[in-house]
Symmetry: C2
Subunit: 112 residues, 2 copies
């Protein structure tokens, strides 16, 4: 079992679990696994995410130390997002899960 | 990358990913990893889950073929929930993620 208790409502691990398994959090982390991306690339790459949800997801992941935001003072300004070391660690645990879902989703939905 | 495209809004894998990474879906699957549990055991074990959310989560996971519901025609009726083979496969991918969150949650929340 985990060192912390995810079953306890007040435990920090519940808060973090919510962030990293949120609908958009997972997709943003997976999208950033191989390369850093600009705002517009994330927005276009993750179909269906609104500007508001992308902004909110990136803010949460940045505050959690999982995503790094690099703003260049150019004109126009250029902002790149990438995974931190901790974010890459998390991605290493998320990717096998996402791959399993990708392989099995057809059977799961088809069998309903 | 996954065989299916989780970044496409209409892809089945997006639907399944939502189910298996939902706040309560993760906790129910993790709770059932080691043993089958009765309704009340799940309800008490997963702090903060409402009757409605537990019922809805179990229905979704059952429809996905991840959780098996075994109703005994006793008086009072006894209902046990357990993971199917597919559910155990999924749990094997979820547990490392949940463990990582358990170990790192303190640092993540503390570093904010």
């Amino acid at each position: 079992m985990p060192a912390a208790n995810v079953f306890a409502a007040g435990c920090a691990s519940r808060v973090v679990l919510d962030h990293v398994t949120s609908k958009w959090g997972v997709l943003v982390i997976v999208a950033l696994t191989e390369t850093s991306l600009r705002w517009g690339e994330l927005r276009r790459g993750i179909e269906g995410i609104s500007e508001k949800m992308l902004a909110q997801t990136l803010r949460t992941l940045e505050a959690d130390g999982l995503v790094h935001r690099d703003a260049q003072p150019t004109i126009p300004p250029r902002v790149d997002y990438s995974l931190t070391d901790r974010g890459h660690e998390l991605a290493a645990h998320l990717l096998p899960l996402v791959r399993w879902v990708g392989v099995n989703a057809g059977d799961i939905v088809g069998g309903r």
